[in-house]
Amino acid sequence: MQRDKDIVLEVEDIHKKYREEKILKGVSFKVKKGETKVIIGPSGTGKSTLLRCINQLTIPDRGRVWLEGEEVTHTKKSINQFRQKIGMVFQDFNLFDHLTALGNVEIGLIKVKGMDKNKARQKAMEELRQVGLENQAYLYPAQLSGGQKQRVSIARALAMDPKVILFDEPTSALDPELIGEVLEAIKNLAIQGMTMVLVTHEMGFARSVANEIIFIENGKILESGSPYKLFNNPKYERTRRFLKKITELYGESSEKR
């Protein structure tokens, strides 16, 4: 099925309805290795549902997903095998509250990958260093700021050496002054060549980091393209209006920083 070896993630014709309401009505896109895709769209349009359909936390009604050419949907393999390779960062962090920052990062390595405890600890420490939190390793989530929590959750995803990381509005739950440190961490990942799919309202960030922006509305991709094209020369008036509104609402914090 896979033609292009460069493609890490392929999403084809995803449909999902809750009760009788159709949330996703056929969404398809491909993500190349090292690419950062930004998904934007009005609230309630199905962006979170789409991300969850990718790693099957929500089972789509129709459509298929491939990771590095292997089908994730309708697979004989355990879905857990794929999820290890698809990192996920949530809007409200979802750190494991009973574990330290270090515990949060190493638990996947120990329990899922079966890594030796000492090795796992070393690797987890390394990932925390990557997001600038080696000094907070032994603090519990309740002792961390929102920005620190989100960086721990990024480290937790990173530790599994995923092929792609899905971010669901990673800065939406943060105080404005904490947004920058999280965007910085994500930006660093982009620079290092991590493949990422990001739902965000941070347009400044999207402009500077995204390879492509996908605008979803009413369960479908209305328009997609480079940041330059979408901001300067969108096909639809609707896209222009949405980008204008969202930029006014959220500012361009990452560029101002």
């Binding site: 969850r52 790693n55 936390l57 355990s78 857990n80 095998q81 794929f82 999820r83 290890q84 698809i86 990192g87 996920m88 949530f90 409200d92 962090f93 979802n94 750190l95 494991f96 509250d97 009973h98 638990i107 996947g108 329990k111 899922v112 603090l139 519990y140 989530p141 309740a142 002792q143 959750s153 937790r156 599994m160």
Partner: protein, 244 residues
């Protein structure tokens, strides 16, 4: 003068009764304390059984399919719906005999109190699990943990911590309920107290002593569980809640 003399005699007689009572209690105490060991064994056994049955029940009620969840609800309804004495008779004189099990009263009492406690404990744990929020499960599954791994490594360690206060309550309830096993002849505190009371015709001091033992056991157990809760408390949380 005569009046004061009578008064004195009454006073002396009272003192004598007091001394007699103390002596009697002193002599009976080892016998009663042995009973409190049996009570502790009974309560410990029932709580343990209730725990190892109650935890999977709670997990099943939250995460298993409808059929299993409904069966568990039925179990809970049954055991919570009957007076403990009815359960005890139903099992000891009914079910266990029907099954040809010739269980000693002590074992039967542990089984009945334990199975009943499982119903109550499962609801304590279920409440805790459901208070966690689905994000914990989502995050665990997104790392590639199986449902079982997520429950074992992420959900239960948190849910059980939150459950300690409710569990402490369950301990004090079972401790008191354990006295009804008197009805099937388990040699616990109250059964022994009753023996002594009928032999000495002094129910008041005997039952007061029994009451005191129960109060001490309640206090001690609850204290231990309080300490456990403090020891296991997650830093940064106050009373299980995030600090601001």
């Amino acid at each position: 003068m005569f009046f004061t003399f009578l008064h004195l005699i009454i006073l002396i007689k009272r003192d004598i009764i007091m001394i007699e009572n103390f002596l009697m209690i002193y002599q009976a105490l080892p016998y009663l304390l042995k009973g409190s060991l049996i009570t502790i064994g009974l309560v410990g056994g029932a709580l343990f059984l209730g725990f190892i049955v109650g935890v999977p029940m709670a997990v099943g009620q939250v995460y298993a399919n409808k059929f299993i969840a409904n069966s568990i609800s039925f179990y809970v309804w049954f055991f919570r719906g009957l007076p403990v004495l009815v359960l005890l008779f139903l099992f000891y004189f009914g079910l266990f005999s029907l099954l040809g099990l010739n269980l000693p009263a002590f074992t039967a009492a542990i089984l009945v109190l334990g199975l009943r406690s499982a119903a109550y404990q499962s609801q304590i744990f279920r409440g805790s699990i459901q208070s966690l929020g689905e994000g914990q499960m989502l995050a665990a599954r997104s790392l590639g943990m199986s449902k079982f791994q997520a429950i074992w490594n992420i959900i239960l360690p948190q849910a059980l911590r939150i459950s300690i206060p409710g569990w402490s309550n369950e301990y004090s309830i079972i401790l008191k309920d354990s006295a009804v096993t008197y009805a099937i002849g388990v040699m616990e505190i109250l059964t022994r107290g009753n023996f002594i009371a009928t032999r000495t015709y002094k129910p008041m001091p005997v039952f007061l002593t029994c009451a005191l033992i129960f109060l001490i056991l309640t206090y001690g157990g609850v204290k231990v569980l309080d300490l456990l809760e403090k020891k296991l408390r997650i830093p940064g949380y106050v009373f299980g809640r995030r600090e601001i």
